[in-house]
């Protein structure tokens, strides 16, 4: 048997920064690396809701990336 335990968590926000010369949407990313692995979706959502209005670009997708280590039990 092997088990996966969570190692790191990252919060990634996609921001819509207009369109480029060809009309393709420009997407900017902001990544927060120091997220607690125990953070809940609610907590992250509330944080994004508070800080997104402080900057100029429209809020796109909000992502959470977790990495796990797999070890034998």
């Amino acid at each position: 048997m092997a088990t996966a335990s969570i190692k790191d968590s990252q919060l990634r926000i996609m921001l819509n920064a207009g369109t480029d010369a060809e009309g393709n949407p420009i997407v900017k990313y902001k990544t927060f690396n120091n997220v607690k692995t125990s953070a809940t979706a609610d907590q992250l959502y509330n944080i994004v809701g508070a800080i997104a209005p402080l900057q100029q670009h429209g809020l796109g997708q909000v992502e959470r990336n977790d990495s796990f280590t797999i070890t034998p039990v």
Binding site: F32, N34, Q43, N46, G49, Q55
Partner: protein, 72 residues
């Protein structure tokens, strides 16, 4: 001229932890910035090597000016 909004907190060790955002809305809405920092503390979802975020320290907008020097 790139501007960055820096939100500075103190962690359990008394060291400064910065959450930064590019392209801030200007002029900065003091109440919104302060409330956002309160939310970050209340949600308690960030962790630094020196522990959790404990209190607000300061917020500032930092501007970086770049002047290219032409090399003859």
């Amino acid at each position: 001229m790139a501007k960055t909004l820096e939100l500075k907190f103190l962690n359990e060790e008394g060291k400064v932890v910065t959450v930064s955002l590019n392209d801030p809305v200007e002029p900065a809405d003091q109440a919104a910035v302060s409330a956002a920092m309160d939310t970050i503390l209340a949600q308690n979802a960030f962790l630094s090597s020196g522990g959790e975020l404990v209190s607000k320290k300061e917020a500032r907008i930092v501007e970086r000016n770049v002047t290219d020097i032409p090399l003859a």
